[in-house]
């Protein structure tokens, strides 16, 4: 018996039609578009180019953009699979043999789709493993996920350019009941996937979302990404907070900090992995602290941690965040002194910032420019 590949006509599922593919493609385009824009926002919030500044209001802005990023990625998983099932027979179209121009366009289109699929699967799979902090690979996640996002969005634009005429006529036609049932299933799978995970960032879904990678657990009711033990933190007995700017240095003990006017701010801590939690943070406003030692309050501040190694041992508070009265050097959370895992003796908590930049175990503030 000679085994041969099936022909496109061999597939009979009602899903295999442009009316279905085009609609799934539109939903998928929206999900990927949201993912790309929010991902870009997160990238710029962490590595701001000179022309860019991330706003301090609303205080939940980063919580929202990063929540949307992760959840639109989750929603895209069943949509991508449904979309691919709908166009699967086209994989078996036999390539033309001539004329050369037709062969070339056919090959180019196939290649662009292959690139799009490589990028799309890669982004969804690597993102899904990253939120669970599981790393079964050897590439550097942040750099690679970012680079492939550009490939995905570029290949998607090419794909839309190629398919635009087909898509337009597909939308003019209304799908029959069987096709509508397939579309409804894809929509339902996407909704279920979001409900099963959204509890990472939507508090009232915490108990429902069985597949949320974060719970309310952790010391003082807030999850922890990097523990004091993992960061190798030992707070010296003579710990001082050093504040320096050109021409002056100031050192304050923990008692000095506690003696300054304290503020309490209810702010979310929102991680790049999409989880977030709100807490009442108490401490000295960075602005008040700088004013108290006679330092300028209108400049960016480099924050250094007791942590020696690690990508996030230092962060830079932009001038807008320094000037914001809600940006605290927190000494406590939810009415208690900060636990070691939350950054004892003190940590930065600023409105609308990625969690990795809310530096813990702070030991030095250095005014820039």
């Amino acid at each position: 018996m000679k085994a041969s590949l099936p022909r496109p006509e061999a597939f009979h599922s009602p899903a295999h039609t442009p009316t279905v593919s085009a609609r799934l493609g539109l939903w998928l385009g929206v999900a990927f578009g949201l993912c790309f824009l929010t991902g870009l926002a997160s990238h710029y919030a962490q590595h701001p180019p000179a022309w860019f500044s991330w706003p301090t209001r609303p205080v939940s802005l980063y919580r929202i953009t990063q929540g949307v990023h992760v959840l639109s990625g989750i929603a895209a998983i069943p949509l991508l699979l449904a979309k691919l099932w709908s166009v699967y027979p086209r994989l078996f179209i036999r390539p033309p043999r001539r004329p050369p121009a037709l062969v070339a366009t056919h090959t180019a289109e196939r290649l662009s789709i292959l690139i799009l699929l490589c990028a799309a699967f890669f982004e969804l799979v690597s993102g899904l493993f990253n939120v669970a902090q599981s790393y079964p690979w050897r590439f550097f996640f942040i750099e690679t996920h970012y680079a492939v996002a550009w490939v995905a969005v570029g290949a998607l634009a090419v794909h839309i350019a190629v398919k635009l005429p087909v898509t337009r006529s597909a939308f003019a036609e209304r799908p029959d009941p069987d096709r509508r049932a397939f579309l409804r299933t894809a929509w339902a799978a996407s909704t279920v996937a979001v409900l099963a995970t959204a509890g990472v960032t939507v508090p009232w879904l915490r108990r429902v979302s069985a597949l949320a990678w974060r719970s309310n657990g952790g010391p003082q009711g807030i999850p922890v990404n990097r523990t004091a033990a993992a960061a190798g933190i030992r707070v010296p007995n003579d710990w001082r907070l050093e504040i320096s700017w050109p021409g002056a240095t100031h050192a304050l003990s923990l008692a000095d900090l506690a003696a300054l006017p304290q503020r309490t701010a209810t702010l979310p801590i929102a991680c790049v992995e999409g989880w977030s939690a709100t807490a009442a943070w108490t401490g000295v406003a960075v602005k008040d602290l700088l004013a108290a030692v006679g330092a300028p309050t209108d400049r960016p501040v480099r924050v250094a941690s007791l942590e020696k190694a690690g990508l996030y041992a230092t962060s830079t508070l932009p001038a807008a965040h320094v000037a914001d009265p809600l940006t605290l050097l927190a000494l406590g959370v939810n009415g208690e002194i900060l636990s070691p895992d939350h950054g004892y003796p003190c940590r930065i908590i600023a409105p609308s910032r990625p969690g990795v930049l809310q530096t813990k175990w702070v030991t030095r503030l250095e005014l820039l420019r």
């Binding site: 050897r138 350019a161 010391p219 999850p223």
Partner: protein, 139 residues
Amino acid sequence: MRTIRILLLAAGTALAGYGGWLLWPQLPYAAGWLIAGPVLHDALAAPLVGLAGLALGRVLPDRVWRRWVAAGLAITATLLLIAVPLVWRPHPAPPNPGLQDRDYTTGLAIWLTALWTGVLAGAVVSRWRERRAAARIDR
């Protein structure tokens, strides 16, 4: 529309090219992961879906039941896929309080039970409705 298509084509090529340039240093480590998606899908996942569809057609000749069960299977597969990194962690980060401290297997089992109860109820109700509608037309 021609102009829009040409602009999209040019912009898309430029953006993908920029991504490729950014990707270059990581490519040796990422290449296998990049190609794995389409290969696993086209050679494994999609044929399995096709076979499952054929089998479903044999086992459940009733169209209403087939629709509901197919939807149940699709949603089950989605939930299982999303659960993979939660239950399988080959190289996890150091222990993090609040991270993966839930019993995901039990949670998943509860969700699947609820899902299939819903599928069953949904199928029974729509079958009954269809019969009633058919009876009304006959009368």
